[in-house]
């Protein structure tokens, strides 16, 4: 446990020194508020630019607060996921590639301690950024579109955070398999895309697939109650996360720490 804390703290210090604590939250805020704000101001922007021919009537559909908040999630699922993968593709692979891992792992550090502490550190950074990002988005949605309760926001953060945790776990898993951060990044993105395609084809049959978290969250906001589907999907996601961590350990054990 002490070693876990040592590595975790070292990661925190590293995120601080390379400004991850600054830019990751900022980028998450940007991604989260981009769509709700630009959509709100779109009519005014069009007006000001004057791109519409005379007499044309431009009617914006009425956007509900829920739909506005869901825009944030949809952008996060795209760019947020990309940022997470790019940021953590060298989590372990980078240390192994550079050779620092040779110094660290020749100390009596358990492999699971090593993997899980780094995973945990990324988790803290991502969750913090997600909370800040969605809080900002929630603030603007309340201001521009209408009320969403704070309780609902908490639920959104919790369930959506599970999806991002899964993304981190997928990247962590590939980190233990490969030593080149580029390959780790590529395979992580590819996996997420394949999962999304799979989900689009089978979503009516397999409703508990992790990619459905967002749509279940949308249903929850609309209906005001957490469905069994949402809980089920959350549970499946957690199980996959645990399985991925376990698989990471097995993969790492089979690796040789020097080349």
């Amino acid at each position: 446990m002490m070693q876990w804390k040592t590595i975790f703290k070292k990661e925190m210090l590293e995120y601080w020194r390379n400004f991850k604590w600054v830019w990751v939250p900022l980028v998450f805020i940007l991604i989260a508020i981009m769509d709700p704000i630009s959509t709100y101001y779109l009519p005014k922007i069009l007006d000001a630019v004057g791109g519409l021919p005379d007499g044309a009537v431009f009617e914006m559909p009425e956007i509900t607060p829920v739909a506005a908040l869901m825009m944030s999630l949809s952008e996060l699922s795209m760019f947020g996921v990309l940022v997470i993968v790019l940021m953590s593709m060298g989590l372990i692979a980078g240390e192994r590639k550079s050779g620092v891992a040779e110094l660290v792992l020749v100390k009596p550090v358990g492999y699971f301690t090593y993997i899980s502490s780094k995973w945990g550190a990324t988790l803290l950074l991502v969750w913090t950024s997600l909370i800040i990002g969605l809080l900002t988005s929630w603030y603007y949605v309340n201001l521009l579109y209408g009320d969403i309760s704070f309780g609902a926001l908490i639920q959104v953060i919790f369930f959506y955070g599970l999806w991002l945790t899964l993304v981190i776990s997928i990247t962590t898993f590939f980190n233990t398999l490969f030593k080149t951060p580029g390959i780790v990044g590529f395979l992580s993105i590819a996996t997420i895309i394949v999962m999304s395609i799979f989900n689009q084809i089978f979503s009516h049959k397999i409703t508990w697939f992790p990619n459905n978290l967002s749509s279940h969250i949308g249903d929850m906001l609309d209906s005001g109650s957490t469905s069994g589907e949402l809980w089920g999907t959350a549970l499946v996601t957690i199980i996959i996360i645990v399985a991925l961590l376990f698989a990471s350990l097995l993969a790492f054990r089979g690796k040789e720490m020097a080349n």
């Binding site: 002490m2 070693q3 040592t6 590595i7 070292k10 210090l13 590293e14 020194r17 390379n18 550079s98 050779g99 620092v100 040779e102 110094l103 660290v104 792992l105 020749v106 100390k107 009596p108 550090v109 040789e256 720490m257 020097a258």
Partner: protein, 302 residues
């Protein structure tokens, strides 16, 4: 009593044996050099001992270690090209790895300060490692290997990449550390091995060719050599010298007659008696021993 016992250790990379059937023992308190040309399997051997590589077959056992024990608790290891977190300061890094080696934070800080001072980079302890010179990184590497006072310190080519001054400093440091821990270090330079080590393990193409204390190796492979220089052409004397029974071999090198002899005392009497009776214009008579360098070359060129 052996502290570490290596038994029929073999490592195969893509069908090629990098280390082949290696067996040796290390006794505590010794400084042992793993000597061999590049590609002999020294690094692979050290990496297997440190647990970074898994042996294809064979075992490494540490005295007093339980069956399921972690060998890494008892060893310190410095890779040939140590890489650190360049954004950390030297002290931060030492405290970090110290804690990873199960020291408490205060202990780790204490040990870090001690070894920063010991390896002579205390002045730079708060500077970022990225700004360290090669020699300083090497010293930091030794400090990080020693931080948890391991029973066995393994250094992979600790001086090969250093300039003469850095090399001297690190060798002196090793000399000091000998009192504290057993040292196993690899090198391809014989003089470095001769300078600090008690025992030699000579490796070539993944196999152990020779092992033993430096003295015993010298004795075992010792042939005495006599160098003779004459005021005039040496050729005429070579044939006469070859007639002496106590001389096993004679040849001319650099205008000098070189004689390999088994019994130096007998040979000296014979040669000097002949020189005196035939009034040879002898200007130099020198006795030397075949150096380990020649042994090294002989073994490697086989």
């Amino acid at each position: 009593m052996a502290m570490i016992k290596v038994d029929h250790l073999t490592k195969t990379f893509e069908g090629k044996n990098a280390v082949n059937n290696l067996s040796f023992e290390l006794s505590p308190g010794k400084c042992v050099a793993l000597l061999g040309p590049n590609g002999a399997g020294k690094t692979t051997t050290l990496r297997m001992l440190s647990g970074l590589l898994k042996p294809s077959s064979g075992t490494v056992s540490f005295e007093g270690m339980k069956e399921d024990g972690d060998i890494r608790e008892h060893i310190g290891y410095l890779p040939q090209y140590p890489v650190f977190h360049n954004w950390m300061s030297g002290k931060e890094f030492l405290v970090y790895v110290g804690q990873l080696a199960n020291l408490t934070k205060p202990q780790a800080i204490e040990q870090a300060e001690k070894y920063l001072d010991r390896v002579g980079i205390a002045d730079a302890k708060n500077r970022r490692i990225g700004k360290y010179s090669g020699g300083m990184k090497q010293r930091l590497g030794i400090a990080q290997a020693m931080i948890h006072s391991p029973q066995l310190l393994m250094l992979d080519e600790p001086v090969s990449s250093l300039d003469p001054i850095g090399r001297r400093d690190v060798l002196n440091l090793m000399e000091e550390l000998k009192a504290q821990t057993t040292i196993l270090f690899s090198t391809h330079i014989l003089s470095d091995a001769e300078e600090v080590s008690d025992d030699l393990l000579l490796m070539h193409q993944g196999e152990m060719v020779e092992s033993g204390s430096i003295e015993s190796l010298r004795e075992k492979h010792q042939t005495t050599k006599i160098h003779l220089t004459f005021r005039e052409n040496v050729d005429t004397y070579l044939n006469k010298l070859r007639e002496i029974p106590s001389i096993s071999e004679g040849y001319i090198e650099r205008n000098e007659v070189q004689l390999l002899v088994a019994d130096i005392d007998q040979a000296r009497i014979d040669i000097l008696a002949k020189a005196s009776s035939e009034q040879w214009p002898l200007i130099k008579f020198e006795v030397s021993r075949v150096s380990l360098e020649e042994l090294f070359m002989k073994v490697v060129n086989q």
